[in-house]
Symmetry: C2
Subunit: 322 residues, 2 copies
């Protein structure tokens, strides 16, 4: 009988310098809604657990209440070989991941998903590569996580920032200030958009549209009863599909879409029964008409409270001139 155990001794040395793994893509980590984003998020939790010597999966506040390493900002960039909706089973990847110090209540984790066998720089994942000099074949992900706790038992509203006492972030390398996503995310939270004035080099295509969405009790909640960070990707993709259908595009075009960049800012959570209103704007690149950005804001319909914001840059294949 074979026993799988990540040998503990193999994880300890210099975990703060990152983790590298060989991954064979399985059905549970591609398509199926937002499985690839869920898996990347699980890797973030693992790397933070190893780097900061904390039981991330069962963390507690100083008062003993459950603390969650929530996703506050998820940024992914698709490469020309590895991109989020282009994976299929059997694809082999090398995944390098590393967490960076970002204050006492939060942490930044970077991932590079490379085709296995690609020649890559030696040593731990360098933020300069991720932010300034990405390899064109690779998918990169940036996760900005904050520790939160419920302020009212059983309610997903009014979550508060906390610092679990055993979050040993001090040994992490700091994220260079130039790469901090704080102001980008703060602006998206304040304005309800990652592109309040539109992306440079793009022109708005059509009028903004608004779609309703109701929290899916079966699919949108995680094991702690909170709205699941990966589900936000599926919710926004559901809106993107509605938009594309309204433009006469086919489901097959949607399924073949290539996401070159997607950002989500998570600014609220929600309880079962919540109805949302999603406002969608669309821009098209002036130079490359097959490149589009869809910008969406998800709000609680009853209160107008901003729950999340996304910007999705796609290369649309044969999208036509609509």
């Amino acid at each position: 009988m074979t026993t799988f155990h990540p040998a503990p001794e193999a994880l300890l040395p210099a975990a703060a310098a990152g983790v590298s793994r060989h991954v064979v893509v399985a059905p549970g980590m591609c398509s199926g809604g937002s499985l690839v984003f869920g898996r990347i998020g699980d890797w973030t939790w693992e790397v933070v657990a190893e780097s900061c010597r904390i039981n991330v999966h069962a963390a507690r506040t100083a008062a003993g209440d459950p603390a969650y390493l929530s996703f506050y900002y998820f940024h992914v960039r698709g490469g020309d070989v590895v991109h989020p909706h282009g994976l299929t089973f059997g694809d082999e990847l090398r995944v390098d991941s590393r967490s960076f110090r970002f204050g006492s209540q939060s942490v930044i984790t970077l991932h590079r998903l490379a085709p296995a066998g690609l020649e890559l720089p030696a040593g731990p994942l360098d933020p300069a590569e991720v932010y300034e000099n990405p390899h064109p074949h690779c998918l990169y992900a940036e996760n900005f996580n904050r520790w939160i706790a419920r302020t009212t038992a059983g309610s997903n509203r009014d979550l508060a920032q906390v610092t679990p006492p055993d979050f040993a972030y001090q040994e992490l390398a700091p994220l260079p200030n130039a790469y901090s996503p704080r102001s980008l995310v703060g602006r998206a939270r304040a304005t309800g958009s990652f592109h309040p004035e539109g992306p440079p080099g793009f022109h708005e295509a059509g009028q903004p549209v608004t779609f309703p969405y109701t929290l899916d009790v079966v699919r949108d909640l995680n094991g702690a009863g909170l709205m699941y960070f990966a589900s936000y990707f599926a919710v926004f993709d559901t809106m993107l599909l509605r938009l594309w259908r309204s433009l006469g595009r086919t489901d097959e075009q949607f399924l073949r879409r290539k996401v070159t960049d997607q950002k989500i800012g998570y600014f609220g959570n929600a309880d079962p029964g919540t109805g949302f209103t999603v406002t969608v704007r669309r821009w098209r690149s002036t130079a490359s008409p097959d490149v589009e950005v869809a910008d969406m804001a998800l709000r609680d319909s009853a209160t107008g409270r901003l729950i999340a914001v996304t910007a999705i840059e796609t290369e649309t294949e044969a999208a036509g001139a609509s």
Copy 2:
């Protein structure tokens, strides 16, 4: 930098006797639709790959076309400690898995998910434990997989059974005939129900109801463009939730449901755009009114073709007398 590699040499000896692993439950393997079922299915593929020395994730027919180790029957039994919708992050499990010989085109894989630290029999997972003497705390899963291939490129209809030439099933222990699910599954396929006459000791509660469902292009397809086996759980749960709401039950009751037994038979696949009709019947235990069975058949609305059948046994908490 830490490198995660399942050391190949650790997997080779006696893989046919099974695999045991320690698992810390992550967000990506609980709730969120059907993540736990997706993860169990991924373990099935891994165990078959190791036991039969075949690249399951990128398998090919003799003609060189993609072959998929499809799920034909998925049976899960919930225990009083570990049950499918009762997992949350940080739960620690010991998972034992083992594949069994079941002809040249199919394979049976059994899994036991036990609370970590539970005292368990030594040695490889014994089918007699799974089928006759399950530990009351554990979740057991039985996966009956068949090799299939598309007969028309790009179409999810008319999938054919195949035998990949490098499927080395001969070294697997055979599944004792007494445990074969073939006749159970064959009857479900022929009658459209796992309980054509109702489960013994149960009486039918209410009239059968019928719900429409449309294939969810965002969430229901896998990385090969086929309807994802784990999504069938989410689809049937969506119908169960509609049924429960129609009975005046709350979303909170639904989220707290305990599934003690669920079977799915997969008899067809479907293309994007397919509309389904789901017929739901409900039985209540005569001796224990909080125990119910919901039996559902999912059919292609246009053709009436049977796509899948499920039976879900739940213990409903404070379900009332409806």
